[in-house]
């Protein structure tokens, strides 16, 4: 069988030769009905019968993995697709550096590996749950289609993690796979494991910010797992990254189109000062200061996903060869880090300072720094749009210490500029930095659905290019009445 062609001979599309892996096939088939129930309960509400113009991975070949066609989402072909195996791949970091990459789980790392897979797996269905009501307020069919694309691919990423659990982790793995369907975002009884995945995604601006900031954390995590010495995990994550790129695209262009529309509307109305919030809002567009507050919110929530700056788990994962750094193989050092240090932002004697910590335990901080750099590139592109339209406003990421629930700065209040303030002061200035209830109400007031092909809501500009190069009035979603 050609590994580059997805195997459709069984119920579950895959390129891992499932037909000859009776045990895993059986486990997955057992899990499949539960997954479909979950999708029907927690997937996009109200659009399960609609025909959506989606891409489906039919092969992991770079040319062939994105095939577009109309499909009903419950019939989407969620498969198990891993990047092709590289001959002779090695463990590229940690104490096993230079050894052959593992094709089976090493017994001593089984618990650690399973934990990594479960945490990653838990985030995938969570965002589907968080976004399930958004279809009803989509600003266009184009955006609605993008939302559903992101949703089905997160669903497929769940499949990918479940495959690893069922193939490599025995009975415990199967139980964990069941629990991935049992936990629900924001549920009081069984919430998702990480904080940001229990927050609401109430509107489309939140959705775009989420895909820009929070999915980018996902990207960084996948990048570092793609370095794993456990080859099946590496291959799985490498393929997931090709899809994740689209999610970043949806977020970055979504926000970009909103602020483009705002700037255009301001110009048409002759408003120069972006801080004239009421006048700008009266135009039916979202003012830039509120967008900045959303940036502050989603960036800070996403920073928490990296965990404590100094982390034993991160050190263990790295040294064991299970989770590397961003672009590990391109870095020029010994890839062991046992004697190295890395500067970490800490709260020392009443001031925020950079303190050298052992590089191994500072890996969360390092990945977070890489993440911040990645975010800044997007921010720069947004600023270019604003500048090109002649509006005097610059977006910026808030300070690391701002609005944190995890890590070094969790027990204090800081402004977006990084000034530490008292509880009382924070109460006074909070709404200057984070969306207020009124801000949320205003955004919500704009969320009226637009479902005519080629039309867009007042607060968002059309995209420059259609998906799959389709024309502007293409009917991306055929809504079932």
């Amino acid at each position: 069988m050609n590994i580059m062609n997805v195997d459709y001979t069984t119920k579950i599309p895959n390129n891992v030769n499932l037909t000859e892996d009776r045990q895993v096939l059986k486990a997955l088939e057992g899990w499949h009905p539960g997954y479909l129930d979950w999708w029907n309960d927690m997937g996009p509400e109200g659009f399960q019968e609609s025909l959506v113009y989606l891409r489906t991975a039919v092969s992991v070949d770079p040319k062939g993995w994105a095939k577009f066609d109309y499909v009903r989402m419950p019939e989407y072909r969620w498969g198990v697709l891993l990047a092709p195996q590289e001959e002779g791949r090695l463990v590229n970091f940690g104490q096993h550096m230079g050894e052959k990459a593992w094709q089976e789980v090493p017994g001593e790392y089984r618990a650690m590996l399973r934990r990594l897979v479960v945490i990653q797996g838990d985030t995938e269905p969570a965002s589907v749950e968080q976004q399930r009501h958004l279809g009803k307020t989509a600003p266009s069919l184009y955006d609605m289609r993008n939302l559903f694309q992101v949703n089905v691919e997160e669903g497929r990423h769940l499949w990918a993690m479940v495959y690893l659990l069922q193939k490599y982790f025995g009975r415990d793995g199967r139980e964990e796979a069941d629990d991935l369907l049992r936990r629900r975002s924001g549920d009081a009884d069984s919430p998702r494991m990480l904080g940001a995945f229990n927050e609401a995604t109430p509107d489309w601006l939140s959705f775009f910010m989420f895909t820009f900031f929070t999915d980018r954390d996902g990207k960084m995590q996948l990048e570092s797992l793609a370095q794993s010495g456990f080859d099946p995990l590496s291959r799985t994550c490498r393929f997931m990254l090709t899809e994740e790129a689209h999610h970043m695209f949806v977020g970055e262009t979504g926000v970009g189109r909103i602020l483009r529309r705002t700037c255009e509307a301001m110009r048409e109305a002759g408003i120069d000062d972006p801080h004239e919030v009421e006048r700008v809002r009266a135009l039916g567009v979202i003012d830039l200061p509120t967008m900045q507050k959303k940036v502050n919110l989603h960036y800070s929530l996403s920073l928490d996903l990296f965990g404590s700056e100094v982390s034993t788990n991160a050190a263990n994962f790295y040294n064991a060869g299970l989770k590397g750094r961003f672009q590990e193989t391109r870095l020029r050092d010994d890839h062991r880090l046992t004697g190295d240090t890395y500067p970490v932002l800490k709260w020392v004697d009443g001031a925020i300072k950079l303190v050298d910590e052992p590089a191994l335990t500072a890996l969360n901080m390092r990945l977070r720094d890489d993440y911040t750099n990645d975010c800044n590139k997007g921010i720069e592109r947004w600023n270019k749009i604003v500048k090109a339209l002649g509006v005097d406003f610059e977006f910026a990421l808030p300070h690391t210490a701002f609005h944190r629930q995890i890590g070094e700065f969790k027990n204090m209040h800081a402004t977006a500029g990084g000034e530490i303030v008292s509880d009382a002061q924070w109460k006074k200035v909070r709404d200057d930095f984070l969306p207020s209830t009124e801000d949320g109400d205003f955004i919500a007031s704009l969320m009226t659905p637009v479902s005519e092909p080629g039309e867009f809501a007042s607060w968002i500009a059309p995209p420059k290019v259609g998906i799959d190069n389709k024309p502007g009035d293409f009917e991306y979603v055929k809504i079932s009445e």
Partner: protein, 562 residues
């Protein structure tokens, strides 16, 4: 972080066991009628020593000192409380157990003392339930790992949140190359009766067990979803309170701060004093008899409260023993002496016996029992010197029976016009103060021939001189004035020349004669196994698990099975 460099936080010069709720940094004690809530919310930056942070509700000795204080106050200050909820103030974390960085940086002696104290505290929880009708319900709202689960194990009932994440675990073996040292293994098998193969799996699986399996395997009593948790916990609290036999009316008594001065090598309380002789490596603990007769009735006893002599002496003695254990590591011998009128001591014992149905007297008796147990497991040579002017009677005589050796002077000393010393027994020597293995010190003493116990009991209340005491088997040697000084001196000199380790092992072996209980097994296994493992390079060597923990580097083990 070398062990010798460990500095107490905030410039403290010694570890202090005195605290009160207004000074707690890690616990909150709230009382609502019959139900109390003890909330663990550890201040990360409130470590007893510099150099580590108490993350995720992990604990060090300082955290446990507050817990021990709270348990004590629940018994004395809150007579109405019949059920205690043990909970976490942290989100989705119950308790991550003993702080590993603290352990990695601590001296071996501190680690052992820490484990011993935390064991005593957890035994105290079970003692509160068994003897004071204060039943504990532990609400595990998230991770309960290692010492966190061991804390839960001390409760009568464990409720685990069923959220797909919350789990109980004993990850010491896979993560740290040590054992759960706070009774975890013993309580899992002997108290909760977890099947041994399940226990084997559980103790080698670092992530632990959650949900239904935790109930099926008996690791917890029930799992409850978050949305039903508060209602269920309230139900359980009411049910345990209703089943409590605690019968206490009126106000509690206030455990007022102990008056203590530490000057040079001497520690002074109202009735207890400790004098350290560093050259001789001894500490002499002297206890004074009460100066006035006891109150006539239980109501008057309660009015005395913390000033009631047996309670005050027990608190002072407890503090002194703990102080010497933790802060004076090179002292080899604790010498017990007493001073005053033995008849007064017996008069108070008579009250303890006659009024035992009064809740407060009951608490005092059980506190004395616990203090004496603390003495039993103190790894120093214990010696009682019974000299003229002493008052080793009843409760105080228990110190004589707890000692590894007891010397009693025959007659008086030349030039001393005080009467020859007398030893006296009371009802308190025949039941209320069992050791951890369930026998009284006198029962332990007369294992060879229980009829000797009856012979001794027949002398209850009588003053016994040295020769009689020796003949009855109550003291090791009766010595006259001519031999006394030399014999005692030579004994101390020989004793302090021995290896402290071999003495610790010897004494612990010989003190607990006869049967085992869960409680004695916990201490015995701590001594035998944990202390061995805690010394081995696989745990504490430079490449051992405790040193490597948190660095990301894997420990290197010597794979020889010993």
């Amino acid at each position: 972080m070398a062990a010798e460099d460990k500095k107490l936080a905030n410039g403290a010069t010694h570890i202090d066991f005195q605290t009160d709720p207004s000074r707690y940094r890690h616990w909150k004690l709230a009382v609502d009628g019959e139900i109390a809530t003890l909330t663990m919310d550890v201040d990360e930056n409130g470590g007893l020593f510099d150099g580590y942070q108490l993350k995720l509700n992990s604990y060090d000795l300082g955290v446990d000192i507050e817990l021990a204080d709270a348990l004590q106050r629940l018994r004395f200050e809150h007579p109405q409380v019949k059920a205690v909820l043990l909970r976490s103030g942290k989100n989705r974390v119950f308790c991550a157990g003993a702080n590993i960085r603290m352990l990695a940086g601590a001296t071996h002696a501190h680690k052992v003392n820490f484990c011993k104290f935390t064991n005593e505290t957890r035994n105290g929880i079970e003692d509160s339930s068994a003897n004071s009708g204060q039943h504990f319900i532990c609400v595990v709202n998230g991770t309960a790992a290692g010492g966190g689960y061991e804390l839960a194990l001390a409760a009568d009932h464990i409720v685990l949140v069923d959220d797909g994440s919350a789990a109980v675990s004993l990850p010491e073996v896979p993560l740290l190359a040590v054992l759960p040292g706070t009774g975890g293994l013993t309580r899992v098998t002997d108290k909760r009766k977890v099947r041994r193969d399940h226990a084997d799996y559980f103790c080698t699986f670092e992530e632990g067990v959650k949900g239904k399996r935790a109930v099926q395997w008996r690791l917890v009593d029930e799992v409850v979803p978050n949305s039903k948790l508060e209602a269920r916990v309230a139900d359980r609290a009411r049910a345990f309170a209703a089943a409590s036999k605690r019968d206490a009316q009126g106000e509690g008594i206030k455990l007022t701060p102990l008056m203590r001065t530490i000057e040079g090598d001497s520690i002074r309380y109202r009735f207890v004093g400790a004098d350290i002789d560093r050259a001789a490596r001894t500490a002499t603990i002297s206890i004074k008899a009460p100066e006035v007769p006891p109150p006539a009735d239980p109501e008057a006893v309660v009015v005395q409260g913390a000033a009631f002599w047996p309670l005050q002496v027990a608190r002072e003695l407890d503090d002194a023993i703990l102080h010497l254990r933790l802060n004076e590591l090179e002292i080899a011998v604790l010498v017990f002496k007493s001073e005053g009128d033995p008849a007064q001591v017996l008069a108070y014992d008579a009250v303890l016996d006659a009024c035992k149905d009064n809740w407060f007297v009951n608490e005092v008796r059980h506190f004395w029992k616990r203090v004496l147990k603390r003495v039993d497991v103190t790894s120093r040579t214990l010696v009682a010197l019974i000299e003229p002017g002493s008052c080793f009677a009843g409760s105080l005589a228990e110190l004589v029976f707890a000692a590894d050796r007891a010397y009693m002077l025959i007659g008086s000393r030349q030039g001393d016009n005080r009467a020859p010393p007398k030893l006296m027994l009371s009802a308190m020597n025949f039941g209320p103060y069992p050791m951890s293995h369930g026998l009284t010190r006198l029962q332990s003493r007369f294992q060879a021939d229980p009829s000797e116990l009856d012979r001794v009991k027949a002398r209850l209340g009588q003053p016994l001189d040295a020769e009689t005491a020796e003949e009855l088997g109550l003291v090791t040697f009766a010595l006259d004035d001519i031999d006394w000084d030399d014999e005692v001196r030579v004994f101390f000199e020989a004793r302090t020349s021995f290896s402290p380790d071999s003495l610790t092992g010897l004494e612990a072996n010989l003190r607990f004669v006869g049967p085992e209980t869960m409680e004695s097994k916990i201490f015995a296994r701590l001594t035998a196994w944990q202390n061995w493992i805690f010394q081995r390079p696989n745990a504490v060597g430079e490449a051992g698990a405790l040193q490597r923990y948190g660095t990301g580097e894997r420990p290197q083990f010597d794979m020889t099975r010993v």
